[in-house]
């Protein structure tokens, strides 16, 4: 921080400086206030309602107290598992291609496409998958929801994989090739292995992002008040359930919405903190 002696400066300029600094600090406070307001409000309203019943029971009919979001938690798990099965392999493959074989103009186009896909509003993706999968199959399904979320994971995983692979020094690849290891084995078992912690970070970030998405699930998974273990049927999902309850007129459901929000935010913040922690430690170790 380069601070200069400003005693020779006019009062106007000094007060402008002071005003600007104060405004900047005030803005920071203003921006962080909602963060704390949300987290604290969540804690207060949600912590009370998260109990064993909440985590293990399915919703009760309107008017009856109790019940929970167990089916939504399970459904989210199912949908996210399908999403990962789609998003992770395709993202890693694309990232490997760009990093190891991507020295042509076409590669820039692919990177641009990744940004495009990243920028498409999630509801538009939901609409498209609705047309492609739901209408074709004539019913909502966890599979459709998983496909929609999986597609959203691809760009994040792809960019993270590419970045991490590019950070592996060329000497490592040469050492492996020099031992007579074939090119593809070098890429997977040496290069990718060296970049593993970074790639996993990217996957977890993508996961945390899609875990909270609601809009694409509105027309794909649709939601379900009951247990559902088949991937070809409408399935409950945590964000969906929160939404349905939040806009309902029932107090009991509002409480459950807060509880659900609490579970969701714990999952997401937990994932992000783990990522940050692992990233700061694992990086220096892996690529020393």
């Amino acid at each position: 921080m380069l601070k200069r002696c400003v005693s020779g400066v006019s009062l106007y300029r000094r007060s402008m400086n002071y005003a600007a600094m104060s405004l900047a600090a005030f803005s920071a406070v203003l921006v962080l206030a909602p963060l704390f307001a949300i987290l604290i409000y969540l804690l207060i309203k949600g912590a009370g309602a998260v109990n064993w019943a909440f985590l293990t029971q399915i919703p009760k009919p309107v008017g009856e107290t109790g019940g929970g979001m167990a089916n939504a938690i399970w459904g989210s798990g199912e949908i996210l598992a399908i999403a990962s099965l789609i998003g992770v392999p395709l993202g890693i493959a694309g990232g490997i291609h760009l990093a190891e074989y991507g020295r042509h103009r076409f590669a820039d186009a692919i990177r641009f496409m990744a940004d495009v896909l990243n920028g498409i509003p999630s509801i538009v993706i939901g609409v498209a998958i609705y047309g492609l999968v739901v209408v074709t199959q004539r019913h909502f399904s966890a599979l459709a929801g998983g496909i929609a979320l999986g597609v959203m994971m691809i760009p994040t995983v792809l960019r993270a994989t590419e970045e991490m692979l590019l950070m592996v020094p060329q000497s490592i690849r040469e050492a492996a090739l020099g031992l007579g290891i074939s090119q593809w084995r070098t890429t997977i078992f040496v290069t990718l292995r060296t970049a593993t912690s970074g790639v996993i970070t990217g996957i977890m970030l993508a996961f945390a992002r899609v875990a909270g998405e609601t809009a694409p699930l509105l027309f794909t998974a649709f939601g379900n008040q009951f247990w559902n273990f088949k991937i070809n049927q409408p399935t409950a999902a945590l964000p969906l359930q929160i939404y349905t309850y939040a806009i309902s007129p029932y107090d009991g459901w509002h409480r459950q919405a807060w509880a659900g929000a609490m579970v969701l935010i714990v999952l997401i913040i937990g994932t992000m903190s783990t990522v940050r922690f692992v990233a700061s430690r694992g990086m220096s170790k892996g690529l020393a």
Binding site: R103, S171, E174, A176, L177, G178, I181, R193
Partner: protein, 252 residues
């Protein structure tokens, strides 16, 4: 056991630039051959052509023949096979950072399909002994990562790793230039002993090193092989004026 290498009219390009102009030489088995010359003379390119590492660069091209122990390295044989028989140690030690010492040495074997645990243990131990590293690391084989060793130890680890796949030729590209004098001395001892079993070709910019360890020395200049003879002769009675100029420090 080591094998002879016959290089015949070897040319190499990086894109349009020709960096090796028709080099021909016969490298004797079970001997250390040193390649010396100023920076940019093509010595690294030359040895990288011997194990087909040169072609990993996208715009690289090679012409001519390299005959290693009777088989033509460039004639339709997969590069992978050539590289298994010709090991390489690089200038800057490059152990695999996320693997343990054991896994580093065993990497060449494991990734080529060799998984028998008992045999792997044996090979790892023998390779580390040959590289004079066994005593220092035998207790921490699986606990320490390859990258946590000192520079000299890392280079010996890389040598052990290269030896584990049982090559017949060992190429070394300035193996001690990034190391301190004591580690350098250890590596030079190693080289002197390794020639009993392997054919060793070492690139070095340190003439004293060449004089110490090598049986024959080749002097390269701007992509041409200027002189190639017994080390003693090259350093005391060089036949070419340019060799003499380089050795006496007039340039390079």
């Amino acid at each position: 056991m080591g094998v002879n290498i016959d290089v015949c009219d070897l040319r190499a390009w990086f894109g349009p630039a020709e960096v090796l102009h028709g080099v021909s030489m016969h490298v004797r088995s079970n001997a250390v051959t040193a390649i010396i010359g100023p920076s940019g003379c093509g010595k690294s390119t030359f040895i990288r052509c011997l194990n087909r590492m040169h072609e990993t660069v996208p715009t690289a091209r090679v012409q001519g023949s390299v005959n290693i122990g009777g088989f033509n390295a460039y004639n339709g044989i997969p590069a992978v096979d050539v590289r298994r028989r010709v090991g390489m140690v690089f200038q800057k030690p490059n152990p695999f950072p996320t693997m343990s010492i054991y896994d580093n040495v065993a990497a060449g074997l494991k990734l080529n399909g060799f998984h028998r645990r008992r045999d792997l243990d044996e090979v790892v131990e023998r390779s580390l002994r040959m590289a004079a590293l066994w005593d220092e690391v035998k207790d921490v084989l699986k606990n320490k990562s390859g990258a946590s060793l000192s520079g000299g130890q890392q280079q010996r680890l890389c040598i052990a790793r290269a030896l584990a796949v049982q090559p017949e030729v060992l190429l070394m590209d300035e193996p001690a230039s990034a190391l301190d004098p004591i580690s350098t001395a250890k590596i030079e001892d190693l080289i002197y002993q390794l020639k009993e079993r392997f054919t060793v070709v070492i690139v070095t910019h340190n003439m004293q090193q060449a004089a110490r360890v090598a049986d024959s020395t080749a002097f390269f200049l701007m992509g041409d092989l200027i002189e190639y003879d017994k080390t003693e002769k090259v350093f005391t009675a060089p036949a070419d004026r340019r060799t003499e100029d380089y050795i006496t420090g007039r340039f390079g």
